[in-house]
Amino acid sequence: MAAFFLLAPLAVYPVFLMKAMCFALFACAFNLLIGFGGLLSFGHAMFLGTAGYAAAHAAKVWAFPPEFAILFGTAAAAGLGLVTGLLAIRRQGIYFAMITLALSQMVYFFYLQAAFTHGEDGIQAVPRGTLFGFIDLANVWAMYFTVFTIFLAGFVLIYRVIHSPFGQVLKAIRENEQRAISLGYDINRYKLLAYVLSATLAGLAGATKALVFQLASLTDAHWSMSGEVVLMTLLGGLGTVFGPVAGAFIIISLETYLAQLGAWVTIVQGIIFVICVLTFRRGVIGELGNWLKKPL
């Protein structure tokens, strides 16, 4: 996978690939929560949007250098994750999904009215700045490899979390919560930690995306963005490691290359959703892993 992303920009438009990587990180963060934690959060857009706005504001208004802007955006998303997590973890399953959805809608309406976000216009012309003082990010290649490094770092972090004792306990909680409690694990702390981790990495994706496109807008905080990340993860394969990356890539390609068809993109996304839920539940990578007889 690393080789693919290293070589791909020679053939494909780099900004498209950067967008795909940001959404892939977003989907991987989401998958950490649902694939391994068993918690469907329908409000992940609030982390993407919050981090985007925070990073854009820091870079543009406070003139932070890009590494600090991204860190600030990620920290903002982590903070929001902690607050909303404390509220949402109390319930499970469908209730959890609805609560996260409503909380994300509350955050969306706040951003719609807050002065610093400029409402529908968004924060535009966010400067990319110079990384560490000497790498000028206006150069597409510099930006590309920065985004690639961030994506790889986030992905490796998620991989390590999944294959750690913490990840195993998370899977145990997903499979049988009562038994995990009886074994003595404090499940609320584990779930909250997974939630905040997922929020932080989603924030990392959002902050990076704001710098790539030099724009932070309301679409990133709208609930349809939450629906999109669910679609990407579902299509790629819930609970697989590479699934969200593949799913994000497919959906972003769909959106980019079918954009002239207008409303048909929504219809196609809906059809993919329906087909995946009814017959294709393992997702692309899941089916591939099943065929190859090894977990992917």
């Binding site: 109390r90 319930r91 209730y95 609805m98 009215q113 219809i267 959703f273 329906v274």
Partner: protein, 295 residues
């Protein structure tokens, strides 16, 4: 012009009326959601799209078939209810053995498809629907001016909600439904056709959404987007009222509509978010919802 709390009475009661109307739509829609969730344990994300379909079918009946509002009130819920039955038979019934979240995802996908199709056909700007002549005009009540159609909406939704509540909570059919919610296998062993009941319940919930859509057509513009943002607020209403409770959704629907109306008078910037803030508070104090029981 008299003033209450520094707000003119006309403005206050005008906003309360709008709040009550919003509340009647919230109540009708959350009633449909609560009925569907109570029996099928599925969050029907398509509810907003079915509400929109109701309004559109009414619009099409008026423009293509020349049938007026009263015909639509009778035909549209049946027509959209039938589509609901088809969806349930073909798709939802396969998901009952799985995690309930798949039902949410399926209905979300269906909502995307339906909304996309209508947006493709009709664009995003609204289409007009004329009010029936028997209900147009209004009467002056002294402290405010009451449009007749608004009064009709409030009365009709109250009646529908109470009739539905009565059927579910006080009749034999309702008791079969409630028994099937608790233990479908046992109820089926007694000889009651549970799958057919489930299908018809889903159809009924969808019909309620379509009825709300027809009633909304003359007041709100008929547009493909009309269900999309409304449905999230209705979810919050259902969570506050308690997910399986019928009376809970009716009362919270009307109540929250009033609260939203009041907020618009005194602190308009918060009117969008006040329902979600209330939801957060209710979840901290009573996670099962105001009228719900811990499952």
């Amino acid at each position: 012009m008299t003033e209450i709390f520094g707000v003119p009475t006309q403005a206050l009661f005008g906003q309360l009326l709008i709040g009550l109307i919003n509340g009647s739509f919230y109540a009708l829609l959350s009633l449909g959601l609560a009925v569907i969730f109570g029996l099928l344990n599925i969050i029907n994300f398509t509810h907003g799209a079915q509400y929109m379909m109701g309004a559109f079918v009414a619009y099409l009946l008026a423009n293509k078939a020349g049938m007026g509002y009263w015909w639509s009130l009778a035909i549209v819920p049946l027509a959209v209810g039938v589509t609901g039955v088809v969806i349930e038979r073909l798709m939802l019934s396969r998901l009952y053995k799985l995690d309930h979240l798949y039902g949410l995802l399926l209905t979300f996908g269906l909502a995307l498809i339906i909304q996309g199709l209508f947006r493709n056909e009709y664009g995003t700007s609204g289409l007009p629907y004329s009010m029936p002549e028997q209900l147009s005009g209004g009467r002056n009540l002294g402290f405010m001016f009451l449009p007749n159609y608004r009064a009709w909406v409030i009365v009709a939704s109250l009646v529908t909600c109470i009739v539905t509540w009565f059927v579910i909570e006080r009749t034999k059919l309702g008791s079969y439904l409630r028994a099937a919610t608790e233990n479908p296998a046992l109820v089926q062993a007694f000889g009651i056709n549970v799958p057919r009941m489930i299908t018809l319940t889903y159809g009924f919930g969808v019909a309620l959404a379509a009825l709300a859509g027809v009633m909304a057509a003359p007041i709100y513009q008929v547009s493909p987007q009309m269900g999309a943002d409304l449905i999230i607020v209705v979810f919050a209403v259902v969570v506050i009222g308690g997910m399986g409770s019928i009376m809970g959704s009716i009362l919270t629907g009307f109540g929250l509509g009033l609260v939203e109306g009041l907020t618009k008078v005194f602190y308009p910037e918060a009117s969008n978010t006040v329902i979600f803030v209330i939801m957060a508070i209710v979840l901290m104090i009573k996670p099962a919802g105001l009228f719900g029981t811990q499952k």
